[in-house]
């Protein structure tokens, strides 16, 4: 029905609008006004206007429309039970994410590819993998956020969310992803099955120690210290020609676990000092 068909019949005047709004009409007249408003554009336009209400209503609509809709990753994380503001925090830095994600993937892919192309060198490649894999999550933690990588770090460190929880949430996200990628690469490698998991405990130890040391040094420096130490010791052993396997054997694994426990304790006690935005 168009307004033309009903235009001639009658229109709602101001008194009728008042009576309608204040509930002073009989039910049948309420229905008549309802049905007429539905059909008559002239009367719809004549409804008394509250400009300030209209502005407020529009600003809320505008806000809701412009609000960024959560991405698929965010919705998936939300479904796992992580609170919404944490999800936003983890997903908010896509520009930073790609650099270390691609770097980690490239290093691992290179290692796996090398292991398959040269069978003679397969043992060496496997050793190289075991040497380098634990360092990757540390590098990821150190380079994903903080002064050199994150142009927003000064602004971020001035917010109330800055501090230990921010670093730990981000580190957890980065370590989670790079550990998962490492695990995939380890499974693809030729060699005894348990080696596929042998690097996990050293990697965990290195990450926790780095975070613990980051309570004293800047995060990147802490990562350099422990990453370098690991490469120096294990790489040195490998280059010297001694067998590297004992470094991943049962006894040393227990040692790693104990050290990780100590580092976790240090990190827990000194967690208030954890703030990668600061130079010390």
């Amino acid at each position: 029905m168009t307004s033309k068909e009903t235009a001639a019949a009658w229109h709602v005047d101001k008194d009728l609008f008042d009576a309608y709004a204040n509930g002073r009409l009989t039910p049948s007249r309420v229905m008549a006004v309802d049905a007429h408003l539905q059909a008559c554009a002239v009367c719809r336009a004549a409804v008394p206007l509250d400009a300030s209400w209209l502005d407020r209503s529009w600003s809320r609509v505008n806000e809701a429309v412009l609000a960024v809709r959560p991405s698929r990753v965010e919705r998936a994380l939300g479904n796992v039970g992580i609170p919404e503001h944490r999800v936003r925090l983890l997903a908010a830095t896509p520009a930073l994410r790609w650099s270390w994600l691609l770097a980690t993937a490239a290093v691992l892919a290179f290692g796996v590819a090398a292991a398959y192309t040269g069978q003679a060198g397969a043992r060496t490649t496997l050793l190289l993998f075991l040497v380098f894999a634990p360092v990757l999550p540390v590098l990821a933690v150190a380079t994903a956020y903080g002064p050199p990588a994150d142009p927003m770090h000064e602004i971020t460190s001035a917010t109330p969310t800055a501090g230990p929880s921010l670093v730990l949430w981000r580190a957890a996200a980065v370590v989670g992803v790079s550990m998962a990628m490492g695990a995939v690469a380890a499974v693809l490698l030729p060699g005894p099955g348990w080696w596929a998991a042998a690097w996990l405990l050293p990697a965990f130890l290195l990450c926790v120690s780095t975070l613990a040391l980051a309570t004293v040094l800047p995060l990147a420096a802490a990562a350099a210290v422990f990453g370098g130490l690991w490469l120096f010791v294990v790489g040195g052993v490998a280059i010297a020609g001694s067998p590297v396997q004992p470094l991943f054997g049962p006894v040393t694994q227990v040692g790693y676990l104990a050290a990780a426990f100590v580092a976790t304790t240090v990190l827990t006690v000194r967690r208030r000092r954890l703030d990668p935005g600061e130079t010390r």
Partner: protein, 178 residues
């Protein structure tokens, strides 16, 4: 897009993500939606939320509007009344919050035609003499454009009860008008 653009043109522009068109639609339709919704729900916050949801829904679903099948105002009203009922029933009852699945018919029902002339006829008196629960069913279906199922949820009765009441209301109106 200007004040003179028709609702259908504005909806097409909104479908092409034109914010100004949505603003014009809001300015044109929010006042009467507020007036009618306030008659159905005394809580201004719920009404405001329903209106906000309505325009957000229009922004997202404007491309689903089919010009040939429904008057834009009727289409917008259907969204608004469903949002209001959905909000009233609480977050656990979002069943009625969405866009209507099929566009409502442009051709007015017999009830609409009669109601438009209610001002000067016997029908007004007949409607006033109808018992409140029968009148509520007529209101929800004929005026608000809800389906019988939705009307039943809105009134808090079983679907069968709403159907029975609608039939009784029609019979009673025929009787009163005879």
């Amino acid at each position: 897009m200007t004040q003179d653009s028709s609702d259908a043109e504005l909806l097409r522009a909104v479908a092409a993500e034109d914010m100004e068109a949505l603003h014009l639609l809001h300015g044109r339709h929010a006042p009467w939606l507020r007036l009618r919704l306030t008659r159905r729900c005394a809580d201004p916050d719920v009404v405001d939320a329903a209106i906000q949801d309505t325009f957000v829904a229009i922004w997202r679903d404007a491309r689903r509007y089919r010009e040939t099948r429904a008057d834009p105002a009727a289409w917008i009203w259907t969204i608004a009344i469903r949002r209001l009922v959905g909000n009233l029933r609480g977050p656990g009852h979002r069943w009625v919050g969405g866009i209507p699945e099929q566009d409502i018919e442009t051709v007015p029902s017999a009830e609409d035609l009669v109601l438009l002339r209610v001002e000067h006829g016997d029908l007004g008196e007949a409607l006033d003499r109808l018992s409140p629960e029968l009148r509520a069913v007529i209101q929800a279906t004929a005026i608000d454009g809800l389906t019988v199922k939705e009307a039943a949820r809105c009134l808090g009765v079983a679907e069968g009860t709403a159907k029975t009441r609608l039939m009784r209301a029609r019979a009673r109106l025929r009787e009163l008008l005879a």
